[in-house]
Symmetry: C2
Subunit: 245 residues, 2 copies
Amino acid sequence: MARYEQIASDLRDAIVRGDYRIGAQLPSEAELALRYSAARGTVRQAVALLAAEGLVGSRQGARRIVLGSERSQSFAELHSFAQWARSMGYRASGTVLSSQRRPCSPSEAVRLSLEPGDEVLDVLRLRRLDGEPVLVERTVYAGWIAPAVERLDPHCESVTQELYESVGLVFAYGEHLIDAVAAGSEDARLLGVRRGSPLLRQRRVTTTQEGRPVECSDDRYRAGSVTFSIRNSTAANPLVRRAGD
Amino acid sequence: MARYEQIASDLRDAIVRGDYRIGAQLPSEAELALRYSAARGTVRQAVALLAAEGLVGSRQGARRIVLGSERSQSFAELHSFAQWARSMGYRASGTVLSSQRRPCSPSEAVRLSLEPGDEVLDVLRLRRLDGEPVLVERTVYAGWIAPAVERLDPHCESVTQELYESVGLVFAYGEHLIDAVAAGSEDARLLGVRRGSPLLRQRRVTTTQEGRPVECSDDRYRAGSVTFSIRNSTAANPLVRRAGD
DNA sequence: AGCTCTGGCTTGTTTGTACAAGTTCGCCTA
DNA sequence: TAGGCGAACTTGTACAAACAAGCCAGAGCT
């Protein structure tokens, strides 16, 4: 672990623990540099990390202030339902309801950088939180990863983790579209809600470290079961509104 | 504009223009430093900016790659409906339906850092996109900003901009919770949808540069009208799932 | 042909220095 | 008391240098 990550971790712990309350000032960079025997640049990297997490804010000339005190794991949580659930103290489970190969559609070809007609693997999963069904996942995997996905246990808890352990696949980048939709008849049946009731939809495309698209997915959460949270500042964070599409 | 922002801007333009296609490699830091006659550190700040926007990805040892080519304005868009609409080429309008002072509730006191019983301003707005009602906004302003809000034109297009021009107020930080809910009878009537139909809800708390809370709001979008979008990488971005609350 | 290994390239981390720009707060004055 | 001024403090920007760590392609070997 890099020095600046250690310092960031130390400061984050102090904030989460309540040593610095919300609205309070953080020590100056110079003071932190002295305390940790590090160069000012290193301290700046540490606090930049906290700023990106939304825990602290900063303005030129004034001391940094504490904006929040909740820790967030950010990336992994957004990609792996199981990892998120575990970190929140829930018990996650899941079932593959169907899994079949088929040629990709034109729109899938674009999103997964495939040639029209290339084969993809279409998987439908139902995921539960403490036994309650909360999420219907319709995922389309690119053909080159399909064999590894088909080898997975149908009741596999964390797909992300299994794929990492079996073929070393790492999900590195993702784009996510979030909106609300009415439950279709299949959604309704699987989630145990009425048809037409509100669902929170997350559509995503995930790629490897090399920028190679792995999967695109349409995930639908039962209303009330899950909330997305984001902290942002004038400086950063690419969460944007888009016109309906 | 800082040197690193100029460099970032230049590279971003090149990416958006298509000089570097998705999946392509960016020039090395050394080469960019030479091209722009800047230190390597300055170039690193520039590409870090692009990485935070989700435009490029990077791994130690390998050249940086282009992940996306769409420009996003991020923060302002998430806070100002009008500014977002304008940048997307829509015509935004809005109407204040009710506005009244009242003592704050206990939960509002916590979120806005007020004393229990302090006065707040409760405003209900309906916002339209090209004439179509798409958003019901229920905003609670802290007492100290209430006078400035009450002076606003009831049909004011951009509250954010007006408050900046009239009292120099800048929204600097925000926390946002995004989920799906069913339309209540008032929501349904205002948005012209059936009761119980799905809405995308964004609850937010906004603070000034000094970390002083200004407003908290419950915004509900008609399904299909608006989508939130986020790019993330293993390195960054604080969009997280939360258990329903 | 297929494999390993190595050397060069590229990004990541850290330190040090200098100056610019904005904030804060106390002091002084009107 | 109210306001203005300025000095000290704090964060932002930029440059330079050095080493660590990971990636990749080409050379050489089996």
